[in-house]
């Protein structure tokens, strides 16, 4: 059964919330139940921003969870907070460009990739969120890549249109790195 409870977390501006929305839109496009809920405290400004995305074949009860089945951590504070919380058997995607510690967990699948550097090579470090999302989807098989590409087309804002192709590349590059991990 397809069911994943994912936390996306990073500095404000790294696009953790957008990557989460992209996953939620993709789940919805595949007729799955989805919830997306951000942390919205004022204490988060300038600090970490995170969101919880649940995508499931079942109707979703609790939209907020303590132990995610997957976590995407784009910076060090996010790594420190969420690495210990991932459920055994779960997936952790780490942006090693900004996280210089390694996970000590041996009961989860850790995908460590320099997402910001990969994104920069593709033209803009700000696509690190999509690189990481590609790795997550490769590891979980939650939705089809085609669906995510479609949702990128629909939800990338007008002024970011020129970044559509690079974002698609970023998605697949993340997936390729995850596969080789």
């Amino acid at each position: 059964m397809r069911h994943e409870e994912t936390i996306f977390s990073g500095f404000g501006g790294q696009g953790a919330l957008f990557a989460g929305q992209l996953l939620a839109y993709s789940g919805m496009a595949e007729d799955l139940h989805v919830t997306w809920i951000p942390s919205y405290g004022p204490e988060m400004r300038g600090g970490t921003a995170n969101c919880t995305v649940i995508v499931s074949e079942m109707e979703i009860g609790a939209p907020i969870i303590r132990h995610p089945t997957a976590a995407v951590v784009l910076n060090l504070p996010s790594m420190e907070k969420y690495e210990p919380l991932v459920k055994p058997g779960g997936v952790l995607v780490v942006n090693t460009s900004l996280v210089d510690i390694e996970s000590e967990r041996d009961d989860i699948r850790v995908i460590a990739l320099p997402a910001s550097d990969i994104a920069e090579e593709l033209g803009n470090a700000r696509m690190a969120n999509v690189v990481a999302l590609g790795a997550l989807i490769e590891a979980t098989g939650l939705v089809d890549f085609e669906t995510v590409e479609q949702q990128l087309e629909e939800h990338l804002s007008e002024r970011q249109r020129e970044w559509l192709k690079p974002n698609k590349k970023a998605l697949h590059e993340g997936a390729a790195r995850a596969k080789s991990e």
């Binding site: 809920i37 919205y40 979703i60 009860g61 939209p63």
Partner: protein
């Protein structure tokens, strides 16, 4: 209509537009501001009235005025703003005009914080202002349900000429979920016959909450009480989950209500026969159904994001039929499935 990924605040606002909302007066406050923001664009687009007032006190009195003119009107706010509206709420109740208010509850008391909470329960169901009245209070637990409840709120407000509140919380307001909006309904073209619309060619209508003379005011109050009794008899709403064979009964509403659906799922997997009653109206309250379910149960667990406000209504309804335990989180902390499970297991062991 197709399903869309919608944020709770935007969803209630757009649902109101599509249900023929003619005017909105409000003042921004987190965690409901996206609703006001959405309406600031959409109502103007539709050629209707949107006004950001100078304060919640002003906003509620503008709402009161529009309601007296028979206009479909609403406002939205969060705890501190609702407190400022209390005087107007009482005037609206005393004048018997239909008004809908969305309250996205946040942590209190005082300025508190902007995280989800349910500690305005007593305020909304029991003491929204001075004098003897109660608003009808609806409690959605998902984005879809708040959409549906906006339509219901207008219907009930106008049917009973009463104040209807939608008790959301920060989580419902901020969450995005797949949901379906209703089709666009045209704005009403006629005004109710009691409305103050200009008395040319007819007897004048007078709308006021002033009733000088004790007996005069008592008569008004008795009429209000009669109406509330009718609301109580007809408008109790709730949803039950797996209660048929339940040994233990969970009672929770709103965000906590949906969290408890996960608890039911997990508890059943662990072999604990638990059911859930989720009130969809906080007033009137599902006291008869709760009493009936409690009589078949070994124990009851009430879960709230408050220090135990609905708990008192549950205690009154259960009236000793089963032992009651309480799990409450305060100040904007959302209870998690595992901590509720722990209390449920304790209750299970205690009542075996």
């Amino acid at each position: 209509m197709a399903k869309e990924l919608l944020k709770g605040n935007v969803a209630f606002a757009e649902a109101a537009v599509r249900n023929g909302l003619e005017a909105y007066f409000g003042y921004p406050i987190t965690p409901q501001s996206e609703g006001l923001e959405h309406l600031s664009g959409r109502l103007i687009e539709e050629g209707r009235v949107f006004l950001q007032a100078e304060s919640e006190v002003a906003a509620i009195n503008m709402v009161y005025g529009a309601a007296c003119a028979g206009v479909r009107v609403m406002t939205s706010t969060s705890g501190p703003g609702l407190a400022l509206m209390a005087e107007g709420l009482s005037y609206i109740a005393g004048s018997e005009v239909p008004v809908v208010i969305v309250n996205m509850m946040r942590g209190g008391p005082g300025l508190g914080n902007i995280q989800p909470a349910q500690a305005d329960y007593n305020f909304m169901t029991k003491s929204a202002g001075h004098g003897d009245f109660r608003p009808l209070v609806l409690a959605p637990s998902s984005v879809q349900e708040i959409i549906d409840m906006v339509g219901l709120a207008f219907e009930l407000a106008e049917k009973y000429r009463t104040l209807v509140m939608i008790a959301g919380d920060g989580s419902i307001g901020q969450m995005m979920e797949s949901a379906e909006l209703p089709p666009m309904q045209p704005v009403r073209e006629t005004r109710p016959d009691w409305a103050v619309t200009g008395a040319k060619g007819r007897e004048k209508n007078v709308i006021t909450s002033l009733a000088l003379g004790a007996e005069n005011l008592e008569r008004l109050n008795l009429r209000l009480q009669e109406k509330l009794a009718e609301v109580k008899a007809n408008e109790v709403r709730y949803q039950t989950y797996d209660t048929d064979d339940a040994d233990l009964l969970l009672i929770a509403y709103g965000t906590v209500g949906r969290i408890c659906t996960s608890v039911v799922r997990e508890a059943r997997k662990a072999g604990i026969k638990v059911g859930l009653l989720r009130p969809q109206t906080l007033w009137p309250f599902a006291e008869d159904k709760i009493r009936e379910l409690a009589e078949q149960a070994r124990g009851v667990l009430v879960v709230e994001m408050s220090a135990g406000q609905m708990l008192e209504d549950v205690e009154r309804a259960v009236a000793g039929a089963a032992p009651i335990r309480f799990h409450g989180r305060l100040g904007g902390v959302v209870p998690m499935v595992d901590e509720i499970m722990a209390d449920l297991k304790k209750l299970d062991a205690e009542t075996k």
